[in-house]
């Protein structure tokens, strides 16, 4: 199966900078903040964050912030909590949290509805993804006291299904990405006792298919991104030993482009920054040698999380 081509992946992430006119760059424009988080976190896990110019990245991130406190996906774009969390995470990676006006950001991120759910913006779209984003962001900013954690937890639990998993809203189909959001939010609020760990653990470990990869729902194809969503959830509920870690490691390594760098969704597909991050982060959760450990709930390197909470 070969090894992780770390140097190639570092080169690939840095090279995204130099590419021109390709499809990925065009569709990425509006979510460049997410792209920055994926690329930079992957670099940090591989021990190569020093390959980028901190001041340039940080000044670009700050130029995406609005007066309201929220961040846009790029300069001049509207703020949304999807990009605000990525911006806060990127600043955390560089130990630049002091640039954030936490109270201002809290006003934007803590858009909690009466039922405990969260909206992504003033238009009011509701989704358990936003519950995770709000809780993760406020936790990093030490502002969880600004929302009703009790109501937030109650809403997430109302999205729990008969199979132990979670959907985007009450009654929504269980999906590994939504499960990560719900389990992550419950972990960050100390509410994991409300998860049916054995039932959910079994559903999650059923996601491993013969090739060793994980899928997001029954009868769907495996995809490297679920190496993050499923694996981090299994770790948070302490059931990761129920899957074959060796086979999953092999599946991720098989998705590498060993010549040009980068990781794809499935073997032999085209690589992108999104799957490169999820592949590297998945391998980090699998304790692959040479990678920094990543925190399964905050989705940040463990040393960064430690810096946020213990070196204040």
């Amino acid at each position: 199966m070969g090894e992780l081509a770390t140097d190639k992946h570092v080169k690939y992430i840095l090279s995204v900078e130099k590419r021109k006119d390709d499809f990925e760059s065009v569709v990425m424009e509006h979510l460049r903040m997410n792209g920055a988080y994926w690329g930079l976190t992957a670099l940090d896990l591989m021990g190569k964050l020093d390959a980028v110019d901190v001041d340039e990245v940080v000044s670009w991130v700050m130029s995406c912030q609005h007066d309201s406190g929220g961040f846009g996906g790029n300069v001049g774009h509207d703020p949304h909590i999807l990009y605000t969390l990525s911006a806060v995470q990127v600043l955390a990676l560089f130990d630049k949290m002091d640039l954030i006006d936490s109270d201002k950001v809290t006003n934007i991120v803590g858009l909690q509805n009466e039922d405990g759910s969260f909206s992504g913006d003033m238009w009011g779209e509701v989704d358990t993804r936003f519950s995770y984003i709000a809780i993760c962001c406020l936790s990093i900013l030490h502002r969880l006291d600004r929302i009703s954690v009790e109501k937030a937890v109650k809403y997430i639990i109302s999205c729990k299904n008969m199979d132990g998993g979670f959907g985007c809203t009450p009654g929504g189909e269980s999906h590994s990405g939504q499960i990560f959001c719900c389990v992550g939010a419950l972990a960050l609020t100390g509410s994991l006792d409300l998860v049916d760990k054995d039932l959910l653990g079994w559903w999650l470990c059923e996601r491993q298919v013969k090739s060793g990869g994980l899928n997001g729902r029954p009868e769907k194809l495996p995809d490297v991104c679920y190496s993050w969503w499923v694996l981090s959830s299994l770790i948070m509920i302490d059931r990761v030993h129920w899957i074959s870690k060796e086979k999953l490691t092999k599946f991720i390594l098989d998705c590498q482009d060993k010549e040009k760098g980068g990781i794809s969704d499935r073997p032999d597909d085209a690589v992108d920054v999104f799957h490169t991050y999820f592949g590297v982060a998945g391998l980090s959760l699998l304790e692959y040698p040479g990678l920094k450990p990543i925190d399964p709930a905050y989705a940040l390197p463990v040393d960064v999380v430690n810096r946020i909470f213990f070196k204040k």
Partner: protein, 335 residues
């Protein structure tokens, strides 16, 4: 009043750059500021770049005009994922008091190529919410159309559940689930929707009222395709927290026996294990069926049927061997 929906189609035939259109001659485009040395820099196609330059200009000037609306249509046509453009479009629709039925058509056209995009669905819901019950049939038809191409489309299902709950239209939903399951019995989304309907429809009387007929339906489905994770989980879900009635329902143990008598089956074995763990006493037929499935090279002599089932599952499902070993370790010890 321009709806913003017709222009895109017209311009597809022969698109004129904005700088060459007289109605835009008074606007100075604003280029994207990517900063000195961007991490994920972008090089746009010329046309797309121009549209965005003009968009920035009208956006910064907060120009609430029909031409701004048609410009958002062009920008969305190039990139349906741009949150800011959608956001501004909603402001324009409100300011210009556009007929939102036209907007539904616009969304439908954009969704044809970008149905996995969150923004489109969010926008569609915003429009439908404003139209109210009037939009019910259009929304049910729209999601049906998307699901006819991808029957597991997460956004479409989510939208459809919202429509049913907010605008109604439950009458045919159970039949629709059956129809989709007839096309693909392994479709977990359709099973999930079925559960949603029998538990939430105001017309059906709830889970308990539906249990008897649903158990029959599901057992038939399991019988036809025993290797189906979704139907087995649905069967368990029909009893929700009533674990005792589940463990004691002879229909459940019978289907396990029927499947296992024909062939070893992963889900029948695990269901049987769950039943026994919740107090079900296996009869001789079940014991015989399990005995027949024993793998000759099992190194341990299992003392009871639950342990035997775990041992079989450890062998037939090596990828999850640790799970089955854990299940075995939790079984009460037999003296």
């Amino acid at each position: 009043m321009a709806s913003g929906s017709s222009e895109v189609v017209e311009q597809e035939q022969e698109r004129v750059m904005l700088r060459d259109r007289p109605e835009w001659s008074d606007v100075t485009p604003v280029p994207q500021d990517d900063g000195p040395c961007p991490v994920v820099p972008i090089k746009y196609s010329e046309e797309f770049a121009e549209v965005m330059d003009y968009f920035r200009a009208v956006f910064l000037a907060d120009e609430r005009s029909p031409r701004a609306l048609s410009l958002t249509a062009e920008a969305i046509h190039f990139n349906a994922g741009n949150y800011t453009v959608w956001h501004f479009r909603r402001l324009l629709l409100e300011s210009l008091k556009i007929d939102l039925h036209d907007e539904l058509e616009f969304v439908q056209r954009i969704a044809a190529d970008n149905s996995k995009n969150y923004q489109i669905w969010h926008h569609r819901r915003w429009v439908a919410e404003k139209l109210g019950p009037d939009a019910r049939n259009a929304e049910l038809q729209f999601t049906k159309k998307v699901l006819s191409v991808d029957a597991k489309h997460y956004h479409a299902w989510s939208h459809r559940q919202w429509v049913l709950q907010a605008l109604g239209g439950w009458e045919d939903e159970l039949d629709y689930c059956s129809e989709l399951l007839e096309q693909d019995i392994f479709n977990n989304s359709a099973w999930n929707q079925r559960h949603f309907v029998i538990t939430k429809s105001p017309l059906l009387g709830g889970l308990e009222a539906m249990r008897e007929s649903e158990v029959l339906y599901t057992i038939k489905a399991i019988n036809a395709y025993p290797e189906n994770e979704s139907s087995w989980r649905y069967l368990r879900g029909l009893y929700k927290d009533e674990t005792t009635s589940w463990a004691n329902d002879p229909q459940v143990s019978s289907i396990c026996l029927k499947i296992l008598s024909a062939k070893s089956n992963y889900f029948a074995l695990s269901t049987l294990l769950d039943l026994i763990c919740h107090g079900y006493q296996p009869n001789q037929d079940i014991r015989d069926a399990i005995e027949a499935l024993k793998i000759p090279d099992l190194d341990t002599q299992d003392l009871d049927i639950a342990r035997t089932i775990c041992s079989i599952l450890e062998k037939v499902d090596p990828i999850r061997v640790n799970y089955w070993t854990w299940r075995k370790s939790r079984l009460p010890h037999v003296a």
